[in-house]
Symmetry: C2
Subunit: 264 residues, 2 copies
């Protein structure tokens, strides 16, 4: 049995709470948040607490609060030499106060307040200061059926940055597509099977191998037609830049002579 | 029973052949390709033909060849007043020779040579010159279990353009993420659940509502850190431009005063 104290009341904290509650191998000792009203609805199921000095003994303390608040909160913890982890993709391990054994338990997924999420689809990136702590965090990931990966700080930073591209930026491309279809009164939903298949294709092909379309073929006629039909300047700019990027990657542009060797 | 003559041997033609072959409601009369060797492996199952003058009577003739070749081939058809459709997202209906009844049967999906594709995940965008022909094409889509949508030319063009954003450009963002993770020796596969969830989120949220991340929060510290850690100029450019686009969409930039009203 792993005893866990959860700190914070945001999306990640709430999803972790649900996952931990649902498994036998984890006991949630306490759930702390500065503003107790955000935890009131859970008060019959777990010991909720707003006074940080009242935190009791636990195997793992999980700080799931906004990035900027992690360092200060970790200083306020009224104990030392315990395993304290944060859940952020971008906060340095060393921003946690060094009086405790530090670690990171970073769930690499997009969390919505309402959407149900199966934790077997939530890879956990684990970083630890002390080797011995890896196993506890690994067991915790296992308990909630999450795949886990040991990473170092630069690797976690790379994953967090890459996640912005495949999540936030990809979603913005969906938004552009929504604007384009809406402007002609055509249903955006028609694109959804294509959106899903584009993601699913990576099961069998690398992004490099999966690429198709006018930019890869250097089909100037279609590219010109597309650019002419875009109304908004920012849509044109995105079209031009990503077309240029595809051409560079696939050697269909003049600058391809300088292509990196690892273009597999 | 709908009788179909298929013209072309590329990805789309081959996937349509498989789908039509698998359903009782469709009979493939003939399969034509200029170079017969590309169809040799099907010769025991269907009447293959390279001489266009030998095409026989059929309910629908489907031209699934490269965009640039559609017009010329349609001129060479040795008959008139038949229903002739192409399968392209971007070729104008009127590029088909007017001696026949013209239409479009555009499967809005990404096709790979080897990947199995369920046609229930392939929306068919139907465009017709003569209203009466809509029902035949609708029945054909129904036969292969595809959802279908009647569109006009500007709507089909908008869908084709939007598809470039959600397929080719999104895939290029996956490629950038692959380069970022590779540069730190971390496994790109860790990102795949996030990639899939980003696509799946659209089942319940619009792209506007689904957006999260540093650009939307206008989290300057993280944005600065991300930009500093990107090695390639083109990656920096993509990061800057899509961050700008998200800020404009979500009113976190100065130019948001000019935001379009339909930002739901």
């Amino acid at each position: 049995m792993i005893s866990v104290t959860l700190i914070g009341a945001g999306n990640v904290a709430q999803h972790l709470y649900k996952a931990f509650s649902a498994c036998k191998e984890v006991h949630i000792n306490q759930w702390h948040n500065r503003r107790l009203e955000q935890l009131q609805m859970f008060k019959n199921d777990v010991d909720i607490v707003d006074d940080i000095t009242l935190l009791k003994e636990a195997d793992i303390y999980i700080i799931a609060i906004s990035d900027d608040a992690v360092a200060k909160l970790s200083e306020q913890l009224p104990f030392s030499d315990k395993l304290v982890v944060h859940t952020s993709g971008s906060v340095n391990l060393h921003h946690l106060d060094k009086k405790n054994r530090r670690g990171v338990f970073y769930p690499l997924q997009t969390f919505s307040k309402d959407a149900e999420l199966n934790f077997s689809d939530v890879p956990i990136c684990i970083e630890v200061e002390h080797k011995a702590d890896y196993h506890v965090l690994k067991d915790l990931a296992n308990a909630i059926t999450s795949p886990y990966h040991r990473v170092n700080s630069p690797q976690r930073a790379a994953l967090h940055l890459a996640a912005v591209f495949v999540n936030n930026f990809t979603n913005q491309l969906y938004r552009v597509a929504h604007e384009i279809t809406e402007s002609e009164g055509v249903d955006f939903n028609i694109l959804k099977p294509l959106i899903k298949e584009t993601a699913k294709k990576l099961d069998t092909l690398s992004p490099y191998m999966a690429q198709t379309g006018p930019a890869k073929r250097n089909d100037k006629k279609t590219i010109k037609k597309h650019l002419a039909s875009l109304d908004k300047d920012i849509h044109k700019d995105i079209y031009k830049l990503l077309t240029k990027a595809i051409k560079e990657t696939h050697g269909t542009s003049a600058s391809s002579a300088f292509k990196k060797p690892n273009s597999k």
